[in-house]
Assembly symmetry: C2
């Protein structure tokens, strides 16, 4: 493998696609150069092109181009992050300490597969503010667990703004949650509130957010909200 | 870290807990010794003990014991598999080739976060046979995608019974799907059918299956089926 393979990242709408954001942010904040290819959800182009671009039919997909060889496709946000961590070890996408890395992977995998109530009740919409939804038991439990998890990680990280000291894939996993909490007016206490603010103030997210605000497509969230796979838009 | 840390794997019921099975099978089939701790779902003991044993409140959890140090807890099935792959590199839980490893991680992550229709309509129940459920559009799509994925991986693996040549974490991820297909009478074609049979005939799974059949607890699946996080029972 050449040390700097040419990479293309297929993403869906920046306004709506939380899993695109996770992969994009992990790479972008680590300074890994990718050519971005945006395919707006549920448009004619989406249906025409997604089958040829994504083995799972979902975004994001990272394509690794090599001279004279078939391109490698890596799909699913977490697999993309693992690929980047392996391919660019000097960027330290995971904590260097094996124990901390194991916990960071636990925290990331928990987001990757869980918090369904949150994901269904509060679809990401970067542009939207002032939304309110009813906070039922399952949603309240998700919010409490996430708040406790953020607070606990930051206590153990002792001081840094991020979950495991330096910025890592774990932070990329929870960034869309911070965006949702802002959109839906979820009030957080102390450390969790500081953490969410730090995520939303990160220059890479600011860039994403500006692009999301400039997008013009509207997706019917109720209809599409049923799709909850981790490579899916929500 | 000592080269052979003492490991405890917390699992839920063998009959019902597909995510426990994934982590258990990945470790067991690789010959990694763990002390097994079974906590039957939704029993008095479950509610009393799970909070102290699992940071996410779910099974499985791998605990790494060290003399004179706090134990390390790794939760979520996929994070446990990644920890084992890193800690026991000679066991080759992932394919050795980086490209194949990236695809194996994609396939595994796709299962970890997706196929919700399948997971909800066909909860794992190792003991049960002869069940039938209505195959709606979403469920049919999941079954088709999984069948195509198994078939495509085996074609590229050219000959071996497993998805990526040697047995890997990717196979552990799909083992409970093979069990479901048997329980719910889903008929598969050629290579996919052979693959499912190979998974179900693996000695480690046979051992799990015998233990599942010897369990006496009954869990109301309808009620509990709403829990779909990857560390959850279903």
């Amino acid at each position: 493998m050449p040390s700097n393979p040419r990479l293309t990242l297929l993403i869906a709408n920046k306004n709506y696609s939380s899993w695109s954001l996770r992969a994009w942010f992990a790479l972008h904040s680590a300074g890994i150069e990718v050519e971005e290819r945006r395919l707006p959800l549920f448009t004619e182009r989406w249906y025409e092109e997604i089958g040829g671009l994504s083995p799972s039919g979902l975004a994001p997909v990272l394509t690794v181009h090599r001279d004279g060889a078939q391109p490698l496709r890596v799909w699913d946000s977490l697999a993309i992050c693992e690929y980047a961590a392996e391919t660019f070890p000097e960027r330290r996408l995971w904590p260097a300490d094996p124990d901390r890395r194991a916990v960071a992977r636990s925290v990331s995998a928990q987001m990757h597969s869980g918090f369904m109530a949150l994901r269904q009740a509060m679809p990401m919409n970067c542009r939207a503010t002032g939304r309110r939804v009813e906070i039922g038991d399952a949603l309240a439990r998700d919010i409490d667990r996430i708040t406790a998890l953020w607070t606990g990680c930051r206590e153990r990280a002792s001081g840094g703004p991020w979950l495991f000291g330096a910025l890592s894939i774990a932070d990329a996993m929870y960034l869309p949650v911070a965006s949702r909490f802002a959109t839906y007016g979820v009030e957080l206490g102390g450390a969790a509130s500081e953490y969410a603010a730090a995520l939303l103030a990160h220059p890479s997210f600011r860039e994403w957010q500006r692009a999301a605000e400039a997008e013009t497509e509207i997706v019917e969230e109720d209809e599409a909200g049923a799709v909850v796979a981790s490579s899916s838009p929500w």
